[in-house]
Subunit: 350 residues, 2 copies
């Protein structure tokens, strides 16, 4: 069976505030707007990499209401109505329920791809192929598809998905999902990787509206009114709990299939992760901004919207990030404290 | 004898480029222009603290020709002709010879104070009193006066002056100079301080034109044409060697008197010295710019002409300095390498 891509729909979830990426990510200009990676906003890259898979008219972005104007500016090729502003953050369960309601109303035979706004994808063709194969599978059978990420290191910052029996499907190998597991400690993460049976949960889901609706009805009925009346989302959102789709639905759903995505995915989830995306010089310094260094090793320097030069003298293992308003100077091993630091800042700097 | 201050003249030497203070000091805007200390340029403070001692009309500034416009802007109360631009840097011997020639021509009975442009002085009244007393002494007898600084720590960055027999003079105790010594190592500096007989050489000299001219004739005759024809300094400068007044004259001169200046002198000769001039918070951080810190201790943050906020996370012992063009991030113990780092910068950043 060939997939009819006119019935493929993408819902890009752009609701995060990215405090672990401050000051490149701020409340008013979160990470999906950064142009540090390749010169265009991550969000625009997320849309562009769907070209050839999902018609532009079928690409919707669900973001915070206050970010709708900036999102429309960043995505001039999308119909303005496709940028949907949530009145408040209610985590991914509400966003997926809203997507489900919109798909049910507008194209009940369609297949939805739910995608986060800000990861980088190295191999876009492989990415499209995997998504298309999973979409073809869920178009055929009443399962929710998940595209997991083939782990490249024992990450403790992601949830994992344990893969079960292989399925007999054409194209990308698919397996039943055995279980979703929360972020592990390092030893557990290492054990997961050794088995070869685990993938990272990257929040990429593929489903038909009827199947997702059934899963909500079975496991998370509070969200069903939003599926039934997506046009009333502004009024319904305040009544919903703040919960992730993983916790509300996925961990409990029974028919899940998973693909092992191996297409150079990187969510650059924290500032130290910048070093994975840019070359280092002979002293191990990663300069994503004009930098002059003497007796300095293993530092990361980045800037956005600020042409200043940075001079490093006798320092190691630092992250230095400039924006027009602020500079962060952070020890790489202390980067996990960034959220706590940001919480102490005055609102205009956050 | 009371000193007639209408015959007191000040020559402020503002020829340094201050590389150890980069980026607060740059080639085009050296340290004497910084307003970090009290909101007015250090040079303006150097002039203002002479009020009541030297008539404004008698205050001259000798600086680099390219800095004359900026110097006139910084000192709107001085007659523009009193800002003298050297065609090239020839160190302090040339500047003092030029001062000697100007004094000899314009007020041969006068007394000159030679002063550096950029030290901070905590007790201005004490400073004026000492200078006035030394001036009164050299007005009476044919000696060159030196105002040394009572050492507060065993500094290795200054030359020292060994004090000899006390003189019978009114006011500030004066002593004969036994010898000038070069910058010592730490052990020698400690030994100097223990004797109580040494002061720092801060480049503050007090003299009559005839006495200084005689000293040049005896020890540094190459500079005599400049003393005889100060109006031709632009043509004479290129013929002169680059030499300090200490080396050319002071170390060899025979009749020198020295006062022990104890008036809160600080030349803030390097960035770590900033910590001496500003209060530290409970974590030992010195914030001379808007700063937010978490798990950060013993850092110095400064900015000039740049309102940005600095956030410090998990870092210690750093110096972070912002200007509109550049940011320096420097380990305090590496600050002595700043000059070498600045040498690697493109000219527009130096």
């Amino acid at each position: 069976m060939t997939l009819d891509t006119t019935h493929l729909h993408a819902f890009i979830l752009a609701g995060g505030r990215g405090e672990r990426f401050w000051p490149l990510s701020t409340f008013a200009r979160p990470k999906q707007f950064t142009t540090l990676f390749g010169g265009t906003p991550l969000l625009a890259q997320a849309v562009a990499r769907l070209d050839g898979l999902v018609p532009r008219a079928n690409v919707r972005v669900i973001t915070n209401a206050d970010l709708v104007p900036a999102t429309r500016d960043a995505l001039p090729d999308l119909p303005p109505a496709n940028i949907i502003g949530e009145p408040m953050g209610r985590d991914t369960a509400a966003a997926v329920a809203l997507a489900c309601g919109l798909l049910r109303r507008d194209d009940p035979e369609g297949v939805a791809l739910v995608l986060p706004a800000d990861p980088l994808i190295g191999d876009v063709l492989a990415f499209r192929r995997v998504l298309g194969d999973v979409a073809a599978c869920v178009a055929r059978e009443p399962a929710i598809g998940v595209v997991g990420i083939a782990p490249t290191f024992p990450a403790t910052g992601y949830g994992y998905i344990e893969c079960g029996e292989p399925m007999e499907t054409p194209g990308t190998p698919l397996r039943r999902v055995r279980r979703f597991v929360e972020k592990p400690d390092l030893a557990t993460a290492r054990a997961y990787i050794e088995t070869g049976a685990y993938v990272w949960n990257a929040g990429i889901f593929v489903w038909r509206a009827d199947v997702m609706e059934a899963a909500f009805r079975a496991h998370a009925p509070e969200w069903v009114p939003l599926i039934e009346r997506p046009g009333e989302y502004a009024a319904l959102y305040p009544t919903l709990p703040k919960r992730s789709i993983d916790y509300a639905v996925m961990e409990k759903a029974e028919r899940l299939v998973v693909a092992r995505g191996d297409f150079g995915w990187d969510d650059v989830g924290s500032l130290p992760a910048l070093a994975r995306q840019f070359p280092a010089d002979a002293q191990g310094n990663v300069a994503i901004a004009p930098t002059y260094a003497l007796d300095a090793t293993g530092n990361i320097v980045a800037a956005e919207g600020d042409p200043r030069a940075t001079a490093l003298l006798g320092v190691s293992g630092l992250i230095v990030v400039h924006t027009p308003k602020a500079t962060l100077v952070c020890a790489q091993e202390a980067a996990q404290g960034l959220k706590a630091l940001v919480a102490t800042l005055p609102p205009e700097l956050r």
